[in-house]
């Protein structure tokens, strides 16, 4: 328990959770105020999931990842658990809205986007470092949310975030990204940077 407390504190988890919570509340209230429709538009869903994932990205690395790596701990399983909990946080925050007047759904699309984007972010964190990990998910999701293509199949793959939940190509893409990110991050951890640059605060 003591380890967990220290770990969460070193990853600034309370801050990230607070940020994710406020983002969810903000997006939920924006939709509630400005729209009469009960179901939130798919662009808004994709962008909200993206924002939640970005808020949790900060927890993927600590103040000194190189030092952390020297600890004789079983890191891979801890990293996997970290990513799964992050996914759970995003999904739960979004699922709560299904019971309210502004529903961020459909549920499966949201789970898919959350998993895919978290995987993409974890992949970026493992290769380019946590501080830069938000860029690729942001650029990709902005473009996909604005210009979704359903034809040809390649279009579905490239704009998977904005595809309807029944699109197999989008689901497979998200699954591959999620799995790739999970495995890469679990094995390699966040890319090592000098401590001065690795700080996230």
């Amino acid at each position: 328990m003591r380890w967990l407390t220290l770990y969460l504190r070193s990853r600034r988890a309370p801050m990230a959770l607070a940020a994710a919570g406020s983002i969810a509340v903000l997006m939920w209230s924006l939709w509630s105020v400005f729209s009469n429709a009960r179901d939130v538009g798919f662009q808004m869903v994709a962008l909200t999931v993206l924002l939640l994932v970005v808020a949790l990205t900060a927890t993927l690395g600590g103040p000194d990842d190189a030092l952390e790596g020297t600890a004789a701990l079983r890191w891979p399983r801890r990293r996997v658990a970290h990513l799964l909990v992050a996914l759970l946080v995003v999904v739960v925050l979004m699922l709560v809205t299904l019971a309210t007047g502004a529903r961020f759904g459909p549920g499966w699309m949201m789970v898919r986007d959350a998993a895919g984007l978290l995987g993409l972010t974890a992949l970026a964190a493992a290769t380019t470092g946590t501080a830069r990990a938000w860029f690729l998910p942001l650029a990709w999701t902005l473009a996909a949310a604005l210009y979704p293509r359903s034809e040809p199949v390649l279009g579905q793959v490239l704009t998977w975030q904005a595809q309807p939940p029944e699109s197999t190509a989008a689901n497979v893409t998200a699954g591959l990204l999620a799995l790739g990110g999970l495995v890469t991050y679990a094995v390699a951890g966040p890319a090592r940077r000098p401590p001065a640059e690795a700080g996230q605060h």
Binding site: A19, I23, L47, L50, L51, V54, A55, T57, A58, A131, R132, W134, F135, L138, A139, L142, A143, L146, Y147, R149, G155, L158, A196, E197, G199, Q200, H201
Partner: protein
């Protein structure tokens, strides 16, 4: 100074931002909605502006990310203790990020330019203005990003600012409705979608947009450079002045860009030799492709006594501009395909012959579509084919008319076709003229 700028270009987020904008922009240009810019330079410049919808938020995010550098590296206090004013220290960063986004945007333009360089000829000066406003929009965005990133140094600031920027761009038209011209002042992407062949952006629009974006950029630099509250409040001044001036300069008229037509782009460019074939200046690169097909049709039309002797491009432009009516001219629409060359050149002869049975504008009894198609098909000797616009019932009746014409003796069929053209020209087409049982 140049040396410091060079170092800053290498050590900041500048290179990455330029690369990201160039790659994202190029992908959008070619894949987002198909290639819609192949007609010419103006279409390319306007399409680039449209995709600022993605690039503008990304530039905001890039600026915000760069502004966190000192915070990230824990050197804020160290730098704060150096005996140099902050305004001095930020100049290289501001310059490097500005250069980066300009480079990214221009690289995207070059990628598009390479695609159309062999077919696009007409290069109006307005293209430069449209591109300059796009560049200015990105520079303002990256500097606003720097300012916001400095005021709110958090890891979430950059992506959140990006999404907020996108939301802003999408909400401006809704927030200013029904005053569309107001959206045109503040949104660099407004009314830039699907430019048609003679589209242009009037100079006053570009001027008003440039004024606002320049004011935004100045305010952002003031905010980024500010050491205290006084300068931050002072940054409001250029914002207010710029907005007021831009609103004054912008013509207070909705759909100003959508309805704008460039008369020079629409003017005809003709072949030197006879028979004359003319296309609009914006399509002048396609004249060599259109000419043989059009002349093929003119040869067919020699069967019609007093038939058309010239082929012109149909330069009808939305909402209400029509080419001058001439009886000896057959009109044909010319459209550039995604590769910049004529879309379906094989359809041109049939369309020219079809155009020979047109009626003057405002005509109350023109020839119907099936009659015109049947007569044209009889002249060319090819069965009527469906185009994407025609409905199957109309096509069926056209085919029937064509069959009945073919079963007639040559002289009788010719007489009816000639009669149809005369009637079409004089606006007195009666039903059943082709079938011979005219009432």
């Amino acid at each position: 100074m140049t040396r410091i700028l060079g170092i800053e270009l290498r050590r900041s987020a500048a290179l990455g931002s330029a690369l990201a904008l160039a790659v994202a922009g190029t992908l959008l240009l070619f894949f987002a909605e198909g290639i819609g810019f192949s007609t010419g330079w103006m279409q390319l410049a306007m399409t680039q502006r449209l995709y600022l919808a993605v690039l503008w938020p990304l530039a905001l995010a890039a600026g915000a990310w760069q502004a966190r550098r000192e915070h990230r590296s824990n050197v804020e206090e160290l730098f704060g203790s150096t005996p140099r004013p902050r305004a001095h220290r930020i100049v290289p960063t501001v310059g490097a990020m500005g250069v980066a986004v300009v480079g990214g945007y221009l690289a995207m333009g070059i990628a598009g330019a390479l695609w159309i360089v062999s077919t696009a000829r007409y290069f109006p000066a307005a293209v430069l203005a449209v591109t300059a406003v796009g560049v200015l929009a990105l520079v303002a965005a990256v500097w606003v990003g720097l300012a916001v990133g400095r005021l709110l140094p958090s890891l979430v600031t950059a992506p959140a600012l990006g999404i907020a920027g996108l939301a802003l761009l999408l909400l401006i038209p809704a927030a200013t409705r029904p005053r569309g011209w107001l959206a045109l002042v503040f949104s660099p992407i407004y009314e830039m979608n699907m430019p048609d062949a003679y589209a242009t952006v009037p100079g006053r629009v570009s001027a008003a947009q440039a004024v606002w974006l320049a004011a935004l950029a100045v305010a952002a630099v003031l905010l980024f450079a500010s050491g205290g509250r006084r300068i931050r409040v002072a940054a409001l001044l250029p914002l207010v002045l710029g907005a007021a001036l831009a609103v004054t300069v912008m013509p207070h008229q909705n759909r100003f860009v959508t309805d704008a037509i460039d008369p020079v782009a629409r003017a005809l460019v003709c072949t030197d030799d006879q028979p004359r074939v003319c296309v609009s200046r914006v399509h002048s690169g396609l004249l060599a492709e259109v000419t043989p097909k059009a002349r093929e049709a003119l040869t067919v039309l020699t069967k019609l006594p007093g038939g058309p002797t010239e082929v012109h491009e149909d330069t009808t432009a939305y909402p209400d501009v029509y080419p001058a009516w001439r009886e000896d001219v057959a009109l044909v629409s010319v459209e550039a395909g995604p590769d910049g060359h004529v879309l379906e050149p094989s359809a041109i002869p049939a369309e020219v012959v079809f155009g020979a049975f047109a009626s003057p504008p405002g005509c109350e009894k023109p020839a119907g579509w099936p009659e015109r198609v049947a007569a044209a098909s009889w002249l060319t000797g090819r069965e009527p084919v469906a185009d994407e616009m025609s409905d199957p019932a109309m096509l069926d009746s056209a085919v029937q008319l064509w069959q009945s014409l073919r079963q007639l003796p040559e002289a009788e069929a010719q007489k009816r076709v000639v009669a149809l053209r005369r009637a079409a020209l004089s606006c007195s087409v009666d039903e059943g003229l082709l079938t011979g049982n005219a009432r």
